[in-house]
């Protein structure tokens, strides 16, 4: 398997990205194609022992910066690491593309280079949240690709989320919930009220509205929302988890006995951190484009990159694109519309 990795994308590129790519090549036994400015990549590669690993460097002269306008970037930077990496996927020379770069840039380039799967109205970004139960998790989409959506897009997000959960996460009959502000059907926005009957009529295992508080308790395997709300939830949860850590550390430091206590409890604290650490989930698959694309957090470190490559491998192994394609076709043939 060959994974194209955007060596220039993310706040910590190329250093952390190349290092993560090396870890992935070693741990998963795959070829990691490092796409970007060859000199910068070679400098990083020289810092590591890489004999026996498959780490070809694929030249791309331009870099799409984190703060760059996606539309302009796609138009003007034809030789960006994103454009080159996604071209590899398009041509069948890579099985997937992974980037921690400018999310809008990846989205726009992926749409331009790979196009949408036939019938897909809008691709969506999905991400996994940990739940309280051991090994439990919840897949939410969209978390940022589409800020303004229509009911039929949300129905498709639900379908694509169902395909991902069943095929890649191996949940036999994924429970699909709609993110809203009350359990009752009547509660919610105009959008959620309009999408509810569509979800109820679908063949999906729709479990109704779920609230933000229900996600950690594992009430649904797939949670559907628009990209604005999903992104607010994602960043909110990330922020509060970090704040809790900051406050707890401060309170512990100010108490000598507590400091000793924290030392004794460090195994438990570490287990909690691991459970909450977004880095372990690696990256967010972009569902609905003609190829496997995984977007990692902009602040991704090498560990995150390694795990994002793992997400890409899993999606490729489980034929994500084909799964969504057949899922949609089946649905359209049953219901007469996407």
């Amino acid at each position: 398997m060959r994974i194209a990795l955007d060596a220039m994308g993310g706040d910590n590129a190329p250093e952390a990205v190349v290092q993560g790519g090396i870890c992935a090549a070693r741990d998963f036994g795959v070829t990691v194609q490092l796409v970007g400015q060859p000199e910068a990549i070679e400098t990083e590669l020289a810092k590591h022992k890489i004999s026996g690993l498959h780490l070809p460097v694929i030249a791309a002269s331009e870099v799409i910066r984190m703060d760059e306008s996606p539309a302009a970037a796609v138009k003007n930077k034809k030789d960006s690491s994103m454009a080159v990496g996604l071209r590899l996927v398009k041509q069948g020379d890579s099985d997937a593309f992974v980037s921690a770069g400018n999310t809008g840039g990846v989205l726009a380039t992926a749409l331009f280079k790979l196009g949408r799967i036939k019938g897909v109205k809008r691709p969506a970004l999905g991400t996994i949240f940990p739940t309280e139960t051991e090994e439990g998790h919840c897949f939410m989409l969209d978390v940022g690709a589409n800020t303004d959506v229509r009911p039929e897009y949300l129905l498709q997000f639900a379908l694509m989320g169902h395909c991902y959960a069943r095929q890649v996460l191996e949940i036999p009959s994924p429970r699909v919930g709609l993110l809203s502000i009350g359990e009752e059907e009547l509660k919610g926005s105009i959008l959620t009220q309009e999408v509810t009957p569509l979800l109820k009529r679908s063949a999906l295992n729709f479990v109704g509205n779920v609230e933000g508080k229900d996600i950690p308790t594992g009430l649904a395997d797939v949670v559907v929302t628009d990209g604005f709300t999903g992104n607010i939830y994602l960043k909110g949860v990330e922020g509060i988890a970090r704040a809790i850590q900051t406050i707890l550390e401060r309170e512990i430091r100010s108490r000598p006995l507590a400091l000793l206590g924290a030392l004794l409890a460090r195994g438990a604290i570490k287990a909690l951190r691991t459970r909450l650490d977004y880095r372990n989930f690696g990256g967010a698959p972009l569902l609905g484009v003609n190829g496997v694309v995984v977007i990692a957090h902009g602040r991704a470190d090498s560990h995150t990159i390694r795990n994002a490559v793992r997400v890409a491998i899993q999606a490729s192994e489980h034929n994500l694109v084909q799964t969504i394609r057949s899922g949609l076709t089946e649905y359209i043939s049953m219901n007469g519309s996407g």
Copy 2:
């Protein structure tokens, strides 16, 4: 000062509500008017020592249930505890109304009984979130009153939030942020992009877009959003804080040394819990109606109710309604529109 308390509202009514009312009357030296079914209230009062406290019982024969349709409740239950309590405020017989009941019911009844402050397009629910900094907090609105909004509503929410933060929270020049999905102005939904120029043109101390992750770091004193997104954020944060506690407890219990450690660190853990405990913030003021109305969490216990009464007292003492009224008038006279 007289605070009308909905003795029948909330999952733990009347027991916890009456108890909270008693605590408030004792701790703050105010009159707490217990509104609801007299027998049920008297039964609860009989369980406590209340001599010397001002706790008049105000009869209201009907109860608006937590799952009831707000519109139907307002129409059909003319003698509900909400209707009676809000009538007291309207008639000047109470300084504020506090309820942990059906949020939609309180909203609808407040609109019907008190009406909007002249010029206010939509009232909004605000709530305080803790920040990492000691004593820091962030006031967010709307967190649930308006699921679908227009840019001009958000501008008014910002104005009302500014008034609340300056007058009641005593922050001299509150920094106002717009909840969005990226710091850059171009990021966000159609709604946030439309409201940005309005906020920039206003006389408010507008600090631009803030993300969910910025709220705990204290980047803004007031954060404006629609009621759908705000409620998702609120419940999401609540859920993750609880999940973290659950996971940490489980991890500690499974390790004997960690259990000892947690015992030694219990002061720090307790301080963290206190800092995060939504109960300490008491209730969400409803801004924009002609009277002080505070809505407490449906699962409110007596401690929450006590603190919700405190929020109501503060808002009354600081002339919240008059402040918003003058703030809006001033703004309209300066800008020619609300």
